[in-house]
């Protein structure tokens, strides 16, 4: 089993989770990586992903685990055959599956856009609730997301950094921004969101994987 950390930047950040699975599978085929397949009528490559990233969010910290023994020069082979923006950074070799989809529970985002640093996002923790209204396929809803915001700090006039729940319990960063618009009077605009780190509880995922190897 090979665990790979990769980035999804530029055009790649618009590739949805389902499309990412297919894209990575095709990258393996082009790179001629011999990946193990599942048994059964419709065999598929054994690849396991960290939780889905929201479409439009650039990421510096995506992970997948792939069942293969073909590790030779893996990062280069992958990068030469991946679409723009998908860049493998680092890898771990193990014989166990770390179950990334379950273990990874938090993500750090840097959000930038004109004036976003001026709203004092830290005040979120003094509020009794952080209600966000949104609509999904079941209609209009309002939900208190206060417990989903784990840290928030101002990085300058035009940038903030937050840690949000991620994975099974999830607050999408674009919905978090909607919450800032609704609760803090933040202006609506195209904010640039970058996911910079993910965590297994409060352990940085890279450290978690280093420990997992031991």
């Amino acid at each position: 089993m090979l665990i790979v950390k990769y980035t999804k930047k530029g055009s790649a950040c618009y590739v949805s989770h389902v499309d990412t699975l297919r894209t990575i599978n095709r990258t393996f085929s082009r790179a001629d990586v011999s990946v193990d397949y599942s048994e059964g009528f419709n065999p598929h490559m054994l690849v396991f992903f960290s939780p889905p990233n929201a479409v439009g969010v650039e990421s510096e910290c995506e992970y997948f685990a792939v069942s293969t023994k073909d590790e030779r020069d893996f990062l280069n082979r992958f990068n030469n055959n991946a679409p723009q923006g998908f860049v493998a950074q680092k890898m771990w070799v193990t014989d166990k599956n770390p179950n990334l989809a379950k273990e990874i529970t938090r993500a750090e985002y840097v959000i930038s856009g004109c004036g976003i640093g001026k709203i004092k996002v830290e005040n979120i923790f003094d509020m009794p609730e952080f209600n966000v209204s949104f609509s999904d396929k079941n209609g209009e809803k309002t939900k208190d997301y206060k417990s989903f915001v784990l840290s928030a700090k101002t990085m300058g006039d035009d940038e903030i950094c937050v840690v949000l729940k991620y994975g099974n319990e999830n607050l999408r960063p674009d919905r978090f921004i909607d919450g800032l618009v609704q609760n803090f009077g933040l202006g609506k605009q195209d904010y640039k969101i970058t996911k910079t780190k993910v965590f297994a509880n409060d352990v940085f995922a890279d450290d978690f994987l280093d420990n997992f190897m031991k």
Binding site: S11, A12, Y14, R26, S29, V55, P83, Q84, D174
Partner: protein
């Protein structure tokens, strides 16, 4: 509006695997435009081929643009952005050349939609040297008169060499010639080029063409040696799922069968195959370079490929080691072979008998007999198939209620065969899909009338009545959209006004049921005092047809002979068995005994 609210942004941002280097210095720029969505356009084989051919020329840079979905069009408008290419985000109006692929008539309004979003004047006469040169290609150009006024150049035939030559001629003469001089130059020097502004029509009050004023007939060009012609062994691999999301290799062009309703069977003659060796090489490289897990062996009639068994055998390593599924579209009924089906884990069987009685199948020269149908269906049922899809046409020349009855009887007959031969425990499902026959230029049926709404409704009602059975489902092609397609297919220049007005009335994405606005066209016809029914009528055999300035290589007399044979329900043998002297004999490309 926020870009993140746009559905499927991957349609517009590019960055796919397989892009040529866009940073190279090129002296001329070309944008390949497809008047439908990214997912449809990226599935188009012609575009895949031409894109790489143009990018291989050091002087040229070729990019892509597709018709944006409504949400992205709104985003562009709200942010005051012109429609731009995917690769370098250059506005379309800054390109030297725009090439539009016209694959189906119902995409015409989308050409205007794209030009509008790009801020480019619609009519060729309103664009001087400072605007991009607009070139059209694709199957519809065998009668592109309805959109001729919008284009500067129309490419008739297979584009590989022609488009490259036009683009290189443009590059060479850029800044040295006026637009008019350049159009005259390509008209005189490049085969297959049709310059609409150099041709004019005289028509009587009923719209019948009385004279075509043209410098010379435009001769269709085609590739003579398929093994020597370029075929990309790579592809741009999209990040989102396409309509046909797979590797595509082209076995041959043309079709030997000569079904009389089928335009492709006449406009792509003669049959030209790629060798098995070449195909094996292309397929192997395509899979290695794209990573696709499905490979489609394309042609108009894949079962007719002389090396099919050998090729499938050669491709077994891909199937076994790389888990590649082979897709064999357009298999004819009489070539259906269980082996292919089994290799490919199909579960539903698709047949196109096209007509319900042997008589009518002989009229349209669909050389399929009841025995063929029986043996294919039985062999499929014995392999465990339980779903059958049947495609038919209504409104064919000489059709009577007996033929409609024949469709119903065929359905019940197949159902009976199932219960005699089935291996599956499931109940049979038969899906019958009926299109309305559309007479197309350059076919033996180009003179025929398009059937009336009253007739078609009556036939549909009859079938609905007769096929009340829980195992059989019926569906039809929408009559109004078929009508529009029929109008455009045999249309003339007067339709440019109608299309432009219809676009202003809100027509776009006409091929998409949810967007189709027949009223937008009906109003436009009224505004210009044109009767659309004029375009649906039967044509006289001695009438000048609006596309008669084209020399397709197939004689008009041959088409007439075929028409007359149709009325006698006489078949014409496949070109694989005998040459029928269609007019292309002297080309020396058909190796059948004459």
């Amino acid at each position: 509006m926020n870009f993140n609210e746009v559905q499927k942004p991957s349609r517009y941002v590019g960055g796919e695997f397989g892009l040529p280097d866009m940073n190279m210095q090129a002296s001329s720029t070309f944008c390949m435009c497809f008047p439908d969505t990214y997912e449809v356009g990226m599935s188009n084989l012609g575009i895949r081929i031409l894109y790489y051919i143009l990018n291989q020329q050091p002087q040229l840079r070729c990019e892509r643009c597709f018709a944006p979905w409504g949400d992205y069009a709104q985003y562009l408008k709200e942010n005051d952005l012109p429609l731009a290419s995917i690769e370098t985000k250059m506005p379309l109006k800054s390109f030297d050349m725009l090439g539009f692929s016209l694959s189906y008539e119902l995409a015409y309004s989308n050409v205007l939609y794209m030009l509008d979003l790009a801020g480019i004047p619609f009519r060729s006469k309103d664009r001087d040297e400072n605007w991009p040169l607009l070139i059209a290609g694709g199957p519809c150009v065998v009668n592109a008169e309805p959109v001729a006024d919008f284009f500067d150049i129309i490419n008739v035939g297979e584009g590989e060499e022609m488009l490259k030559n036009i683009a290189l001629a443009y590059d060479e003469n850029k800044g040295k010639m006026s637009k008019q001089e350049f159009l005259q130059y390509v008209n005189d020097n490049i085969e297959g080029v049709y310059v609409p502004s150099l041709t004019s029509f005289e028509q009587n009050e009923n719209g019948v063409v009385t004279k075509i004023n043209t410098p010379h007939k435009t001769k269709r060009v085609y590739v003579r040696n398929m093994d020597e012609s370029y075929f990309p062994d790579k592809a741009i691999v999209s990040n989102i799922e396409l309509v046909h999301d797979r590797a595509v290799a082209e076995l041959f062009r043309g079709c030997a069968n000569g079904c009389r309703f089928c335009q492709a069977g006449f406009i792509y003659r003669p049959v030209r195959e790629r060798s098995v060796e070449k195909m094996t090489d292309i397929c192997t490289k395509l899979i290695a370079n794209t990573g696709y897990d499905e490979l489609s062996l394309n042609s108009l009639s894949t079962g007719d490929y002389s090396g099919l068994k050998q090729l499938i055998q050669n491709l077994q390593p891909l199937v076994k080691e790389k888990k590649v599924r082979l897709a064999l579209p357009s298999l004819r009924l009489d070539t259906f072979d269980g082996e292919f089906a089994q290799n490919n884990r199909l579960s539903s069987l698709t047949f196109a008998p096209e007509a319900g009685t042997q008589r009518l199948r002989d009229v349209i020269n669909k050389n399929v007999t009841m025995e063929d149908i029986d043996s294919s269906v039985i062999s499929a049922f014995e392999r465990g198939f339980s779903t059958v899809k049947l495609y038919f046409m209504m409104g064919l020349p000489t059709e009577t209620m007996e033929d409609i009855d024949g469709i119903c009887e065929l359905a019940y007959h197949i159902k009976d065969l199932y219960y005699k031969h089935r291996k599956s425990k499931k109940d049979i499902k038969i899906n019958i899909s009926c299109a309305t026959f559309i007479p197309k230029p350059h076919t033996p049926f180009q003179w025929e009338a398009f059937d009336s709404y009253e007739n078609i409704s009556q036939k549909q009602a009859y079938m609905r009545q007769k096929l009340r059975n829980r195992n059989i489902s019926l569906s039809w092609h929408d009559y109004e959209s078929s009508t529009l397609e029929a109008v455009f297919a045999r249309g003339d220049r007067r339709l440019a006004n109608v299309i432009e007005q219809a676009y202003k009335n809100g027509a776009k994405f006409d091929g998409w049921t949810e967007h189709f606005k027949f009223d937008a066209y009906m109003q436009a016809f009224e505004q210009f005092g044109l009767d659309y029914k004029q375009y649906l009528r039967e044509r006289n055999e001695d009438e000048i047809l609006p596309w008669d300035y084209l020399d397709m290589g197939v004689d008009k007399n041959f088409l007439l002979r075929e028409r007359h044979k149709a009325y006698q329900a006489k078949c014409t043998l496949s070109c694989n068995k005998q040459c029928n002297a269609c007019g292309l004999q002297s080309e020396g490309l058909c190796n059948v005994n004459r």
